[in-house]
Amino acid sequence: MLIRIIEHINLAEAPAYLGSEETGAINLFVGTVRNHSKGKTVLHLDFEAYEPMALKEMEKLGIQAKEKWPLYEVAIIHAIGSKLPGEPVVVIGVSSAHRDASFEACRWLIDELKKTVPIWKKEYYEDNSVWVNAHP
C-alpha cells in the first residue's frame, strides 16, 4: 500500500505505483480545491492533519478495502498545508483485475476517508474563514 501525507501531491505517483502486469483496472479519484463553495469565492484551503493517527487510519482503510474487494494495490495520498483552487488535495487509487471492484473500492475509500481520517480543512473566503464540518 502507498499511504502518504505530503505537502505537494504528484499526480503521476499513484498510477505508477498501481500499474502492474496482473492488473486490468485502475480507478483513481482526485479531489481538488474548487474556487467556489456555497456561492462564495474560495481563495485557498488550509489542511492540517494529526499525522501519526491519520496515517494509521488511512492504512486501516486500505486494509479493510483489500478485505472487502479483490484488489491488487491501494494508494491513499493526502495533502497538507495551504492549497489554491485547482490544486489536488487527495488522491485515492486502487488496482484490481476487473473494473467493478476498482470503482466500488475507490468510492468507498474516499467516502470513509472523509468520515474517519483526522484531517481538517479551513476554507478561506474573501471576507472570512471557516473550519469545514465543525458546526451542525
Binding site: G31, Y50, V90, K114, V117, I119, W120, A134
Partner: protein, 79 residues
C-alpha cells in the same frame, strides 16, 4: 496531562496544546469531555468531538493517564 489540539479546538481554546493540572486530571475519556465542556462551552456547539488515545479513537469509558498521547478530534473534513 497534555492534550493535543487540532483544527477548531485550537481556535476555541486559544492554545496549541492544553495542559490539565494534576489536581483536575480526568480518569476517563468521558471525564475529559465533561471537563472540556465546562471549561470551553463553545466545544459543546461542535457537530461532534472525539478523543484519540495513543492515536486510536477511544470510547468514553477508556481510562487515561499522563503516559498516554491524548488528542481532541473535532469533526474531520479531509478529502
Amino acid at each position: 496531562m497534555e492534550i493535543l489540539l487540532f483544527g477548531i479546538t485550537r481556535d476555541i481554546t486559544g492554545q496549541q496544546k492544553l495542559t490539565i493540572p494534576q489536581e483536575n486530571q480526568p480518569h476517563t475519556v468521558g471525564d475529559l469531555k465533561a471537563w472540556l465542556g465546562q471549561q470551553f462551552p463553545a466545544i459543546k456547539q461542535l457537530s461532534s468531538l472525539a478523543v484519540a488515545v495513543d492515536s486510536e479513537y477511544a470510547e468514553d469509558d477508556l481510562a487515561i493517564n499522563s503516559n498516554s498521547e491524548i488528542a481532541l478530534i473535532p469533526p474531520v473534513s479531509g478529502g
